[in-house]
């Protein structure tokens, strides 16, 4: 299959890759760029494990074609911590035992950050509905919701 050259920005760094027309952004991240922090749980947009942002919009990387990344700004889990300083959401997930096996955690963190970008003071219900696109099979969500609300509070400085 003929490959197309794509230039994009991921976590602030410029990347070039060759991409088949059938490859998704998820395939490109994981197989071409070895950025395996973004996970595949279903490849049909139902589980949210591959959540990334594309020009600031929360998307499932499995529902975006690699070619669509051209000229876009992509943010993945690999860009969330600032050097060795974890993002408040990452710290609060650890503190509140909001992760167990961890396979859904990168997607949930990316989705939660995207929530706090638009709503820095969400209610429990708003957190639950925003994260309804991210399946976690281990935690039962209780500690995830607690961690997101606690991180939001810390980030607001209240």
């Amino acid at each position: 299959m003929k490959k197309t050259h794509v230039s994009t920005t991921i976590n602030g760094d410029e990347f070039d890759f060759l991409c088949e027309p059938t490859q998704t952004l998820l395939d490109v991240l994981r197989d071409e760029l070895q950025m395996t922090g973004t996970k595949e749980g279903c490849a049909t947009g139902d589980c949210g494990a591959c959540s990334v942002t594309l020009d600031g919009t929360l998307v499932c990387a499995c529902l975006v074609l690699g070619l669509e990344a051209s000229g876009k700004e992509i943010e993945t889990i690999e860009g969330m911590a600032d050097g060795d300083e974890l993002h408040p959401l990452q710290r609060k997930f650890i503190e509140h035992v909001a992760l167990q096996c961890g396979i859904c955690t990168p997607g949930l963190l990316v989705a939660a950050r995207s929530l706090l970008d638009v709503n820095p003071d969400p209610t429990e219900e708003e957190v639950r509905y925003w994260l309804a696109g991210n399946i976690c099979r281990c935690t039962g969500y209780h500690n995830i919701v607690t961690a997101v609300i606690d991180a939001a509070q810390e980030m607001r400085g209240t």
Binding site: M1, E20, T22, R30, Q34, M35, T36, G37, T38, K39, E40, G41, C42, A43, T44, D46, C47, A49, T76, I77, E78, M80, A81, L86, Q90, F93, I94, E95, H96, V97, L99, Q100, C101, G102, I103, C104, T105, P106, L109, E124, E125, V127, R128, Y129, L131, A132, G133, N134, I135, C136, R137, C138, T139, G140, Y141, H142, N143, I144, V145, T146
Partner: protein
Amino acid sequence: MGMMPSPYGTQLPYEEKDTKVVGTNPTERPDAADKVTGRARYAADINLPGQLVGKVLRSPHAHANIRSIDTSKAEALEGVKAVVTRDDFPDLPVQIASGGEIMINFRDVTRNMMAREKTLYDGHPVAAVAATSENIAKAALKLIEVDYEVLPHVIDVVDAMAPDAPLLNEEQFTKGIDPAPDKPSNIAARMVAKLGDVEAGFKAADLVIEREFNTKAVHQGYIEPHASIGNYTEGGNAEVFTSTQGHYMNRAQTAKVLGMEISRIKVTPAELGGGFGGKNLIYLEPLAIQLSKKSQRPVKMAMTRDEVFRSTGPTSGTNITIKIGMTKDGRMTAAEAELNYQAGCFPGSSLPLCMPTAFTRYEIENVLVVGHDVICNRPRVAAYRAPGAPMIAFGVETVIDELAEELKIDPIEIRLINAAKEGTQTHFGPKLGPIGYVETLERARAHDHMKTKLGPNQGRGIATAFWNTLGMETSATININQDGSASLIYGTVDVAGGMRAAYAQMAAEELGIPFEKIRAQQSDTAGLGFNFPTVGSRGTAAGGMAVVKAARDAIARMCQVAARIWEVEEDEVVWEDGAARPASANVGEFEPLSLAEIAAKAGFMGGTIAGHAEINVTGGGPAFSTHVVDVEVDRETGLVKVLRYTIIQDAGKAIFPDFVKAQFHGAAVQGIGLALNEEYIYNDKGVMENPGFLDYRVPVASDVPNISTEIVEVPNPLHPYGVRGVGEVSIIPPLAVISNAIYDAVGIRLRDHPMSPPKVLKALDDAAMKEAAE
């Protein structure tokens, strides 16, 4: 020997003491930083140089003879490096072995991994291909020509038990019947557990209620699809990176189906993206190795979500009848259960493990439990968190609710009247030791949840559960490093991230050094002796016992070094607060030698210090849980909304309390999904119709409320820190507790799972019609 407790088992007595690390919540969980940054490596994240992509061709038929398989066109496709079918694996005779929480037969293990004479379910592997890209591998699958003779199939357990049902195996005669039957049957085995005389018991009852229940198969639903990389080298050795709950058992089974010696294979368990019992069997591992052997390249295989649903471990769908008799003051006189369980296409459902849970938590003199292990055209069932037990509790706990209502006794009171306690004779053999069942009920009764007022169409339910904790083979090593830090190597796969923290906590407590000085790491199969898979809630309990034993072994070595330095006898040295000290003033005046000081000198004083344990743990410890739920039923849509949920569970002793509560949360929400939505749906051709998360709907964050939890601590006397298994018990009550709450809300008793909106709506309509007719 199956899962019988070993007569040579290890138990370490519980020691009541003030602990510094055990019972606290560590802030630096060993796995967490890697998981929140995306750096943790799951099997699908691992790549080997030069690897190929492997894909599996699966049967589109529920039941078919395979007349022939022609792979020549696939092999001729450019980029295809190897194709394997049944012809590439040796046939194996009948040989029964333990497969984690279920029993396996190697004749069937090899047939499940790759169909031989027949395909037995939609999704059964028929061939596998390794190619230079995924697209080429997929194209090659389409070029494989399989000539099928489609056979009549059977999906449901009651249909499969019928005398005229299509037979999956003409050579299977039901075991456990005397005299042995002369006609083959889909019923693989009849199993019986008995106590007293149920007939006499029912005669002594004032009220007997008998009800039938049906539940659908459900999937564990781990978010990580199975992935394996196999690398076979010319020297006849193989390495495997895979998603597994038990790499030693995985290696043993893989070796067996490949005809290799166990020592030739090294299995490295990658970080596990959820298993819940579903990652105990082998699926891709032998295919990847065989493809690698043929192609002389590493081969990476990962399932799609569709493949996970169609071809890996759902739990059994069931047909269950429960009968309980009580005197009018609420005392149980007899209890009977008939359990008909789908085993999938090969025998070996979870009946041997779940039958003991049927009535254990009640003191009943007369009990009869009969189980039928039934094969049908579905994937071979795998364990799923307290495998098989939620469905029995669905029956038992709702029948008790009905009895309580008829007898006008409070549902918690009726359970307290019959509650099992220390000394209660179980219907599966042993008498119970000290347990916390009564405490969970009493704390439920006193809980604020019980005081909350209910509105219209809202109801409250109560249900309880028991699950036993497995022990089994367990190994661990603690290496004391020259700088005074310790490397703890464990071999019982840490499935959720809490076990390795709890291991380090127990090791820190024993050694008397800070938690941060210990790094707990998972061993591959080369690094330690055999460890049983992480099943039966055994991880922290059994693994922890091995860690404590290894730590004590290391301490003995450190005391020996101190004795050599001080030139005294070994028994004149004791270990306290992280240092060797003279046992008494008579030994002499010596400054304590810290672990770091001893570690620095140990090499010269006899050799590096390490502590080991290679044991069979038999001190599991039964665990109990009481759940309370409030639901609201939408009479327009049939939707059941969970409003409030409370879990009270005996953890023995919680090593890492916040993680123990997190296990309660997760188990209950899986149970809520099972109760309200999840089910395998098959069409009339025996093909699964909902193999994806869109149509097989597991709970999402907006489906469930916050969950209130309380840990009861009645220490397990056979564990040094009092641990009982905590992972499984709380998936058992949700089916029953929600059914009880729905009845309380709208007066309908649901006995067919799942309690999804169409079923609730129909039951409401039926009730309204009945009322109108009256």
